[in-house]
Amino acid sequence: MKILHGFVDALSSLWLSCVLLILLALLTWLGTLYQVEHGLFGAQVKYFDSLFLVHQAGSVAIPLPGGTLVMGILFVNLVLGGIVRLRKDKSTVGILITHVGILMLIAAGFVKAYYSEDGHVTLYEGQRSNLFESYHHWELAVSEPLASGELREVVAKQETFFAAAPGKSAMLKGELPFDVEVTRFLPNCDVFPKGPMVGADIPTVDGFFLQARPLEKDNEANVAGAYITLIGRDGKRRDAIVHGASRNPLTVEYEGRRFGVALRREQWVMPFTVALDEFTKEDHPRMMMPKSFSSDVVVIEPGSERKVKISMNEPLRQDGLVLYQASWGPSNARPGDRLFSTLAVVRNPADQYPLYSCIVIAIGLVMHFSVKLMKHIRHEAQKAA
C-alpha cells in the first residue's frame, strides 16, 4: 500500500509535470535540429513516435525518453494530479474542466497517431481514383482480379516485414494458396539487371538484383524493395523481387488462379471516387510564387455525382475523410501544360477533438477566472465595508 501511495504521489506530482514539460520542450528543440539533417519524417519517428531514443551530441550519446512515452506519462500525471488529487469543490470546477480539456487534447493526439489514415491522391486532369496512398509506409499486397472486375486483396503492413534480413526472414500467411516469405527488405534501393560485367553482393533473381541506396532525407523519396519467396501448398518455392517503383505487379499462378504481388505504398479505398476536372493555379503577379491553387473535382458515389472545389483552406469533408489541396505539378510546367493535383487525404477519427478540447479548456478557464474575480470583488467589498 505504501508503495502504491508512493507511486501515485510520484506520478501525480507537480514536479513530474514540470520535468515532463521541460522534456517535451527539449525533445521539440532537439527534434527540430535533427530535422535539418534528416528530414521531417526521420525527426518525427526518432523524437516523437518513440518511447526511447539516444541523442547524439557530438561524440556523446545521451539517452532520452521519446515523445510518446513523455506524452503518455503526462497524460497519467494530469489524470492523477489534476483529477484524482484535485480538491473538488465549486472553486476548482474550472480547473477540473480545463484538465479534462487538456486530456482530450492529448487523447486526440494518440488517436491521430494510432488510428488515423494519412495519405494522398494525385490526379492529372481527366483522371479519377477511389484510392489514396500513404506518403511513408509500405505494404505487401497480393491481389486477385475477379471476373466481376473487382480486386480481392490481402495486405501485410510494413511493420510485419521491415526487419527481414538474411537469417531473420518474415513469413506472411493468409487466405491464399501460397505463403510469402520476405527474405530481405531494403527501405531504399534500385533494381538493376545483372550483366556479366556487374558485380552484385546480394542475390540475383531472374537476372535482376536490388542495390541498396542511402536513405533520403525526405522519406517520400525512398523507394523500397524486397526479396521474397513464394511457397505453394506443395512446398515449391519461387524466388522473386518486388520493388516499390514497379509499373506492374509480379504475376504468379497457384491452383489455377492468377495473383499480382506488389510492394507498394500503403493504400486505402475511399467510399467514393474523385475525378479531377480542372486544376487551377494562380501565381502572384510577375513572380514565381503561387498565390492560390484549387481543384475542381467531381465526387462520384453510386447513383450520384456532385461538383466540388477543393482549395487551400476549403477541404472536402465526406464519409469521415478530409481531402485537402496539398500540392501540384509538374513544378516546371509552362503555361498551357497539363498539370496534376495532389490532394492530401486524412481519415482521422479525432479530427474535431482539438476544437472541442479548446472549447472545453476555454470554458474551464472562463469559469475559474470568473470564480476568482467574484472572490476578489467580494473580498474588496468586505474590505471596504
Binding site: D9, A10, L11, S13, L14, W15, L16, V19, S50, F52, L69, I73, G81, R87, T92, I95, S129, N130, V142, L146, G149, L151, E153, V154, V155, A163, A164, A170, G174, E175, L176, V182, D190, V191, P193, G195, M197, D206, F208, V223, A245, S246, R247, N248, P249, T251, R258, G260, E282, D283, R286, M287, M288, P330, S331, N332, R334, P335, R338, K372
Partner: protein, 435 residues
C-alpha cells in the same frame, strides 16, 4: 488574489528530496519496462496478411502477366548478348562522360555503352547505344523510334529538316517526339511519354543517345540530357560543351542551330519540324533578326532585353539566349530546386575547374531582388587547371525555390562579363513570370 498551488493541491507540501527519490525510482521502473517493450524483436518472424478486401478500382490500371523488364522498366535480356559492341571510326576508343547530378548510372548492357536512370524515376531511362556501321541508316532509326512512341513515320524530306548539330566530331540529328509509348516490343501503352534523342549515323559507326519516359520527367531533365550529351568525349578531342556556341571553337557550328533554317532567321526548331510536331525546347518564339530593347516574352517569363544584347538561337530547355561581345547569357527553368543553390553553384565551379564553395561562403554572395524573392549572384573564373575551351568566366544568377528554380548563366571573357555586369543584373531583375 492570485491562484496558488494550495487551491489545487491542498495537501502539505511534500519535501523535495524523498519525493524526487521516489519519482526517480518509480519512473525508472516504468522507463525500463517501456524500454524492454520497445526493444522487442519486431519486423520479422511470422505474421498474417489482413483479411481479404474486395473493391473495384476506379481509374487505376491493374495488369498482370508483365515481364520483369516491363515491371522494372529496365531490360535484362540485353545482358545475354556480348557486351559493348565496337568498331567504326572510334573503334576501341572508350567514350567518357559525366553523369548529370541526380541521375543514376546503370551498368552498361549489350549495345548500351552508357546507361542511366533519370532523376530517380524508374520509368525514365537514357542510354547511349553504339553500333557498327550505319546501323540501318538514319531514316529507319528515326522512324523506328517514332513507331515506338506511336507516331507515323517521317518522310526523307521531313527528316532532312530536323535540327542538326555537331556531336562527337560528326553531325547528329536531334529528335523530340511525344506520344504513347509502345516500347521496344510494341506491347506497352504508356500515354504522355516523350522521347528525346540524338542520332549520329556514320558509315563506320553509329551513335544514338536516347532519353525516354513520362513527358513531365523528360521535360524536367532536358538540361541534364544536353549536358550529358555535351560531356561525351572519346579522348580524341571530339566533345561538346554545354555552354554552347560562345564557347565552341570559332569554326564550330552552334549546338542546336539547324544549319539550314538558322540562316533564314527563323526558329530552327520550328522550321525543322513537321506540322504536327510539338515544339522543341522552351520556346517557339521566332528569333528576332536584330537586338531589341523592348520587353520580350517567352513561354513562361517576360523580361527586358539589355541594350546591345543580341537574341541567340532558341535551344532546348532555355527560356531565352542572348549573345553580347562573344559572351552568351541564357535562362533555364527547372522543376523543384533543380539540384539546389550550392549544388548548382558548385556544378558551375566544376565546369570552370574552380574550387567548390562551402556553406559559409554561400552566405557572403551578393543578393538581388528577383521574381518576387531573392536571387543569388555568383561570379566564377576559370582555374589554370581547366581544360582548353573552358569559358574564362561565368556570372550567374540563381533563384532557387522549392517548387521551381530559375538559373541565368552568363559565360564568356571576364572583361566582357565585368563590362556587362550592370546590364546582366538589370536583365535578371526584369524577369517576370507569366501567368
Amino acid at each position: 488574489m492570485r491562484a496558488t498551488t494550495a487551491d489545487v493541491h491542498p495537501r502539505p507540501r511534500p519535501r523535495l528530496l524523498p519525493h524526487l527519490r521516489r519519482a526517480a525510482f518509480q519512473g525508472g521502473v516504468a522507463l525500463a519496462a517501456a524500454l524492454l517493450a520497445s526493444c522487442a524483436d519486431k519486423g520479422h518472424g511470422e505474421a498474417s496478411f489482413s483479411a481479404p478486401v474486395t473493391y473495384k478500382p476506379a481509374g487505376q490500371t491493374f495488369e498482370l502477366g508483365k515481364s520483369d523488364s516491363n515491371r522494372f522498366g529496365v531490360s535484362a535480356s540485353d545482358f545475354a548478348r556480348a557486351p559493348a559492341a565496337s568498331g567504326g571510326a572510334s573503334a576501341g576508343a572508350k567514350i567518357h562522360w559525366e553523369t548529370p547530378t541526380g541521375w543514376t548510372e546503370l551498368p552498361p548492357s549489350g549495345t548500351r555503352e552508357a546507361n542511366f536512370k533519370v532523376a530517380g524515376d524508374a520509368k525514365t531511362e537514357c542510354y547511349l547505344t553504339r553500333l557498327a556501321g550505319s546501323a540501318g541508316g538514319l531514316e529507319s532509326n528515326i522512324n523506328r523510334w517514332r513507331t515506338q512512341i506511336s507516331l507515323p513515320p517521317l518522310s526523307a524530306e521531313e527528316i532532312a529538316k530536323l535540327p542538326r548539330l555537331e556531336w562527337l566530331g560528326a553531325e547528329a540529328v536531334l529528335v523530340n517526339f511525344e506520344g504513347q509509348w509502345k516500347g521496344m516490343s510494341g506491347t506497352e501503352g504508356e500515354e504522355g511519354w516523350r522521347l528525346v534523342g540524338l542520332l549520329s549515323v556514320r558509315p563506320d559507326e553509329s551513335l544514338f543517345l536516347k532519353m525516354v519516359g513520362p513527358s513531365e520527367v523528360v521535360s524536367a531533365n532536358l538540361e541534364p540530357f544536353v549536358m550529358l550529351a555535351a560531356s561525351f568525349h572519346d579522348g580524341s578531342g571530339h566533345s561538346h560543351d554545354d555552354a554552347g556556341a560562345a564557347e565552341l571553337p570559332p569554326d564550330h557550328p552552334p549546338m542546336t542551330g539547324a544549319t539550314s533554317s538558322a540562316k533564314s532567321g527563323a526558329n530552327p526548331n520550328d522550321a525543322a519540324l513537321p506540322d504536327n510536331h510539338p515544339p522543341i525546347g522552351a520556346s517557339g518564339t521566332p528569333i528576332p533578326a536584330a537586338a531589341s530593347n523592348d520587353s520580350q516574352r517567352g513561354s513562361a517569363f517576360e523580361w527586358k532585353a539589355p541594350a546591345g544584347w543580341k537574341r541567340g538561337a532558341d535551344k532546348s530547355m532555355r527560356e531565352v539566349t542572348y549573345v553580347v561581345d562573344g559572351a552568351e547569357c541564357y535562362v533555364t527553368l527547372l522543376g523543384g530546386t533543380g539540384g539546389g543553390l550550392l549544388g548548382n553553384i558548385n556544378r558551375w565551379c566544376g565546369q570552370l575547374g574552380a574550387k567548390a564553395l562551402g556553406e559559409s561562403e554561400l552566405g557572403a554572395l551578393e543578393r538581388i531582388e528577383m521574381l518576387g524573392g531573392e536571387g543569388v549572384i555568383v561570379k566564377i573564373t576559370r582555374s589554370e587547371s581547366a581544360q582548353a575551351g573552358t569559358p574564362e568566366a561565368l556570372l550567374g544568377a540563381l533563384c532557387v525555390r522549392e517548387d521551381r528554380s530559375l538559373f541565368v548563366k552568363f559565360i564568356g571573357a571576364e572583361a566582357v562579363l565585368d563590362a556587362q555586369r550592370a546590364a546582366f543584373l538589370d536583365f535578371c531583375r526584369s524577369l517576370a513570370a507569366l501567368q
